[in-house]
Structures are given as structure tokens and as C-alpha cells.
Symmetry: C2
Subunit: 209 residues, 2 copies
């Protein structure tokens, strides 16, 4: 249960607070005003004061926010004080990239296995993991108590994979397949559509000037 | 110059319209009502009517929207009727994944080269591209008239790379480094922070129930 009632808009800003506060912390900055933070993070100072007031008392008028305490609180709110075990479904290009992407591991999302249905991929070594047969998916999730799955299959297979993961009791899914999967009662889903970031970019390119 | 004045909120929804209309089109659906589209896309019917009315007249009361015409218009608005030439800076895991990620190529973002500064990566073959020396970056961009660069370096190097790209006259950047790059007068930037999708997921996992 959450201590706070936080809107979706604030939740979307939290990772940015986390990143900026982490940078300030690593530079040894101990206090920062909402005005200074605004210049770095790009949100208005009043937005920042409003957002951060929801998490507790980390600032004092005229003295600014305590960077370390605020960083720890944002970490906690984001659930980064906990470790998660993860698996990858789909050992193609995206799956392989995720397996090699250190940032996830650095934040406590520990990769446990990679699965695929294709005979020519099963057994292949990817960054120290031997690709496992998707037929063993459900058993593995339950035995190893896996929290999160990355779906890295094509759009056609993603829905079947989702159903199987959900039945096996997975808690969260980061979906890279180009189809929107919807939360059900058991599973939390975050859809990541890389190519749509590119669409936004080309929209702005086309409409510049 | 744009025919339309479209808000950032609508622009963010456009890729989703593009994806859903593309699926409908490939299934041979010729007309769809705002109510039916709402069930597929997850926005309210009135939101859809409001959004789509900005792009022109694609619907007729009681007959629904013409799927093909609307899809083509959304494509045009997103700038997908044009081809873009792209390069990757940073031949590490993310750079290699982007090089192998077919979706970008399928939508007209054509990869022309991959660059790195590391001696042991220069000359390496990645998906048919020999990694080039970053010292030749500026010359290549200008000679080949490159539109878009993917920054796939670490956060420390990303800012130098950005400055060099901007001076060389690049038009757009899709930034995967874990630092927010800001638009300047010449370059349009889209920051992609993969790990922050995961943060959102773990927030929801932690605060479920």
C-alpha cells in the first residue's frame, strides 16, 4: 500500500527527479533550491515544490531541499529499494540487447533466464545465458518466483506469451512488441514502442520552421 | 510549415492512431466509428472525434471514419511519407541493437553508418556495417546529408557527441544516453530512457493493491 496518493502525471516525472537528484548527489551537492532544480530539470519551480511536497518535508524555506534524503525517498517511492528477478521472452535482436543492457541490472532488475520457441535459438549463449525452451516457461516462473518479464517477441506472438505469463503468475511485464498489451487484474504492463519515439522526432523535423 | 496547429498532447497520441489504423487497414477494415475505435485504442470516443477533426474531414455522421484516408493523413502528419538517412554513434550494446532493429528501416529511417571512438570497435562488422572512426563523423554527415543520429554512447560522452553533431548540421537526434539533451535552434531531440519505463513499472508493482 502506498503512503501517498500520487497522480499519473507525477509518477511520469519521478524518474526524471530520480536521475537529476542522482547526478547532484554524485557531484556532492547537498542542498538545492526549487529554482536551481528547475533550471536543471526543466519543470517550473512551482511545479517542483508542488510535486515534492507530496513526498514529505525535504525542504526548508530559504535553505532548499536536502538532496540525499529526497533522492532516497524518490528511490523508495519508485520501488528501487527492492530487487526484482526478470526473464526475457524472445532471443532476437531486442531480447539480446536487453540481455546486454547493463542499466537494468545496475538498478536491481536481475536477469535470470532468456526463453525462445525457435529450435535454432534454444541453447545459444547470450551474455552468459543459455536460451531456454519456452515450453519450460511456466515452471521456471513459478519455481524461481520471477517478478518481471520483458516481452521481446513479434506482435503476433506477444498476446499468447502475455496470456501464458499471466497464468504463470508473473507480476509485471515490460512489453517491446509492437502491440499494446492491457493491464489485467494480476499483471502490471508497461508498453515500450521504440519506433514511436522516432515518429515524434520526424513529426517535429517535418514541422520545424 | 504545418497545415495544422496540433498540441503536444495530440502529437503524443498520433503514433497510437497510426498503429491502430495500420492494423485496421491490414485487416481490410474500410470504415470505423469513433466508438469502435475507442474500444481498440483506449481513448474516449469524444477525444477521438476532437483529435481527428483537426486533421480534416475523414468521417461522416453515422458512417464512421475512412480508415485508409485517415491512415495516410496521419502518416503524412508524422512525416512518414519522407525517407530519412540515419547514423548510429556508439557501437556498444544499444548501438548494435539499433543497427539490427528492423522497425526503423521499415518506416523509412535508413541506416547509413555506425561510428565509435574506440580503436577495438572501429572496423568491426555490425549487421553489414563496418564501424567507422568518429573522427570522420562531421565530414560524413555533411557529405552524405544525414538527417538523424542515434546517440548510443554513455552519458559522459553524449554531450560532446551532441555538440559535434549539432555543429556538423544534423537535423534530429534520438538520444539513448542516460542524460537529457535539450533542443537547440538547429537540432530536434527526442530522449529515450529505457530504464525509466522500468521505474514506472516497479512503481506500479510496489503500489498495487
Amino acid at each position: 500500500m502506498s503512503k501517498y496518493k500520487i497522480s499519473l502525471a507525477v509518477i511520469k516525472r519521478l524518474p526524471k527527479y530520480h536521475r537529476c537528484l542522482g547526478e547532484l548527489k554524485s557531484r556532492g551537492v547537498r542542498r538545492i533550491s526549487s529554482g536551481e532544480l528547475s533550471k536543471i530539470i526543466g519543470f517550473s519551480a512551482s511545479q517542483i515544490r508542488q510535486d515534492l511536497s507530496r513526498f514529505g518535508e525535504f525542504g526548508q524555506q530559504g535553505y532548499g531541499y536536502r538532496v540525499n534524503a529526497l533522492y532516497s525517498e524518490v528511490e523508495k517511492i519508485l520501488g528501487l529499494d527492492k530487487k526484482y528477478s526478470t526473464i526475457i521472452i524472445g532471443a532476437g535482436n531486442i531480447g539480446q540487447a536487453i540481455a546486454k543492457y547493463n542499466d537494468f541490472g545496475n538498478y536491481g532488475y536481475e536477469l535470470k533466464a532468456i526463453f525462445d520457441i525457435k529450435k535454432d535459438l534454444i541453447g545459444k549463449d547470450i551474455n552468459g545465458f543459455k536460451v531456454m525452451d519456452s515450453n519450460n516457461l511456466r515452471e521456471f516462473i513459478q519455481k524461481e518466483d520471477i517478478d518481471i518479464a520483458y516481452i521481446c517477441t513479434n506482435a503476433e506472438n506477444a498476446i499468447d506469451v502475455f496470456n501464458e505469463l499471466s497464468e504463470a503468475g508473473i507480476k509485471g511485464i515490460l512489453n517491446f512488441a509492437r502491440v499494446d498489451l492491457q493491464n489485467d487484474d494480476n499483471v502490471v504492463i508497461e508498453n515500450v514502442h521504440l519506433v514511436e519515439n522516432m515518429f515524434k522526432l520526424s513529426y517535429f523535423l517535418k514541422n520545424k520552421n
